[in-house]
Subunit: 467 residues, 2 copies
Amino acid sequence: MDLAPLREALSAGAVVEDADVIAAHSADHALFSPVGTARALVRAHSIEDVQATLRFAHEHRIPVVPQGSRTGLSGAANAVDGCLLLSLAKMDAIVGIDPAEGTCTVQPGVINQALKDALADHGLSYPPDPGSVAISSIGGNVATNAGGLCCVKYGVTADYVRRLRVVLADGSLTTLGRPTAKGVAGLGLAQLFVGSEGTLGVVVEVTLDVVPALPQPLTAIAVFPDSVSAAGTVSDYMTSGGKPALMEFIDGTTIGMINDYGDFGLPADAGAMLIVQADGDGTLSAASAELEAFAAAARANGASEVMHSEDPRDSELLIAARRAVSPASEKYAVAHGGGVLVDDVCVPRERLREMFAAVARVDAQFPDLTVGTCAHAGDGNLHPSIFFDAQDPHAVAAAEEAFALIMEAGLELGGTITGEHGVGVLKAGWLARELDPAARALHLAIKRAVDPRGILNPGKMLALLGE
Amino acid sequence: MDLAPLREALSAGAVVEDADVIAAHSADHALFSPVGTARALVRAHSIEDVQATLRFAHEHRIPVVPQGSRTGLSGAANAVDGCLLLSLAKMDAIVGIDPAEGTCTVQPGVINQALKDALADHGLSYPPDPGSVAISSIGGNVATNAGGLCCVKYGVTADYVRRLRVVLADGSLTTLGRPTAKGVAGLGLAQLFVGSEGTLGVVVEVTLDVVPALPQPLTAIAVFPDSVSAAGTVSDYMTSGGKPALMEFIDGTTIGMINDYGDFGLPADAGAMLIVQADGDGTLSAASAELEAFAAAARANGASEVMHSEDPRDSELLIAARRAVSPASEKYAVAHGGGVLVDDVCVPRERLREMFAAVARVDAQFPDLTVGTCAHAGDGNLHPSIFFDAQDPHAVAAAEEAFALIMEAGLELGGTITGEHGVGVLKAGWLARELDPAARALHLAIKRAVDPRGILNPGKMLALLGE
């Protein structure tokens, strides 16, 4: 395929055919996911670049893999053979902030934290805060419907998407969603593209709802002898009407990895811990009352220690410790055979005890593996990480089996195979197990209607739903 | 068409062919919208009834018009010639309330207020409160993505829909959406059915997010010499970070109608008024501060009077007055020629001044018409009602022209043709003007993919988008 016509249609330098550069852009942060060989990398500088790329790809039936910052954890941004990698990273302008309407409009390449910083200057906040908040783009957040720590009170990306400009498979540009606080003119198609992982179109502009700056929270931690008692605390506290602004779980294995990674002062001998924040909707007394209710639930579930602090530095240190799970896990993995698979199941909150018990059973079943779990516990969303010797085929097979058993347990408890990391290539086969036959058929019918030539991110989320 | 096979497939008595009963079920609350002649009414008692009806209709290519309580204002539930009216009103059970997960699951025929009452027993709340809250069903609320008075702070129906069970055009049953607080397994298809007005499938079960019981609000009113100064207050207050729990506008013409309808004590000589509630997220002092900020904005915009009360009875009387707009308008219409068209435009909050000025111009342009406007002002959502002599063809034509001019003004100000009432038959022609060409094509492609035989509510929302 001669790319000269594409090169001519795009901004200068947008098409990159250097093999090293392409290789460096061919995978996201997912581990053990297949990576194909791309034909070229296109760095879009404008909506017109995206349109021209898709027109060309559509005409010649070339696969297109849209990419933001490639920080995803499911391989959705990985190259497929012969594809054009379409990077939106250079389209990183904040188009506008509208305090009266309570919205901001951005290009897809804007980094989540950069947007938060810009909004703070206006006394505004965009709450969704995936673990990758410092490095992931809003476009990628929209494509994966990213979650994070604040979701338990403040919701996920989808809750903030008001309007999208999208380039469709044939290169046509459309504006979907509503221009106003409310609006019901036509189908709710903006939401169809949120979480579609690049399989339906390429998001080129995003209008997000924003909120007044979030209040400063109070923070508490509770230390438990085991995971199940921490899980019981979450279920009981949420059932009693708890409104935490953050409710994170870290098990003893992961605490060990964090302490080995940096000096965060986490309790070394804990079986598990919970970090909870409450902001009382801006009222200190209400936040204190929230944390008292949490402390009572923790003690009733056997917590050995419950502490809270009004010092923002203590709170920041705890959140930094939670955010260190990812690099600490990487450090541990490198030192222990190199293999790690990060799972992402979500169950109803009342089933958390059973889910943690199931993870413990999987851990016990495979002596060659180590399983460490952190969780956005208030949402019922667990991230068990499975560590293994990547050089040992038996260990690799065991890790994959453990990974599957955890998802199976989640489904059996009425949960989902992915709470926030997405399907990508990693869980494409599992999606068919979660969806019922009519839902599978509906997914395929809509995919065919929107992308009739199947050029958008083939072999990913929707690839294994059957016919 | 012989309906005997359908009758045999359904619950006893589900198929009604009595012409009077059919006629009584052939229209919703929309005025001046076409009403066809239905072939029969099906009163579904179960999901299986809905499936059997759609299988039969699909096989014989018979149009199906799904109906809840028929309280819609756009004719979406009106009969089309030869159709089966499919009423979900008898499926009115509350399936379950889950305080731990913060959800409830209901059949579509449950009345919104009945659900609110049931939730209150558990200390829970389902906020969306369309004007029809006492008579409209949750299924209808989902089908139209209903809004209401609380949206300005607590959002619309779509914000609360977690999971739907839907019967598709061919009678297949599917479960869409997520079972858990978070979930990204597959496309966000539940949201596709929210607001689809019966054109894509029939919702047979709804799982909604619920929240802790809403705090008791404080209430204030401000009286203005004219609509534009009230609109300016809204823009200024919202721009300064206002978080009202309710922010309703009533113009002088409509105040007159309300005072003529009942003794609500509204200021008779006002040009316009705003009713505002603040709940301070449960804190009285924060609610008071909110109302102080509102009062300051109102005075700065020329309010002649600002009052507030902590007595819940005063608040209830004011809300009752606001909810009396609909019957008061009907009473006025009956006494003044019988004709009324209720419009429903939504504009960005900063354009409210211009929008009210545009409505005033339309009012002045047609001396034979009376225009009275209420508005969910905090959302930028206006309901100008056009009153006219239904027996006078010139007045009817003028009313239709005024109705169109108001939508045109809304679009020109960056707004939408419908904030919450929906498209139905009333605005099907206008939808094509709001959507861009690619969005129109996308709507049609998805409609064809999901309902290939076009049996679901034909001639309504998606009928005039062209090919």
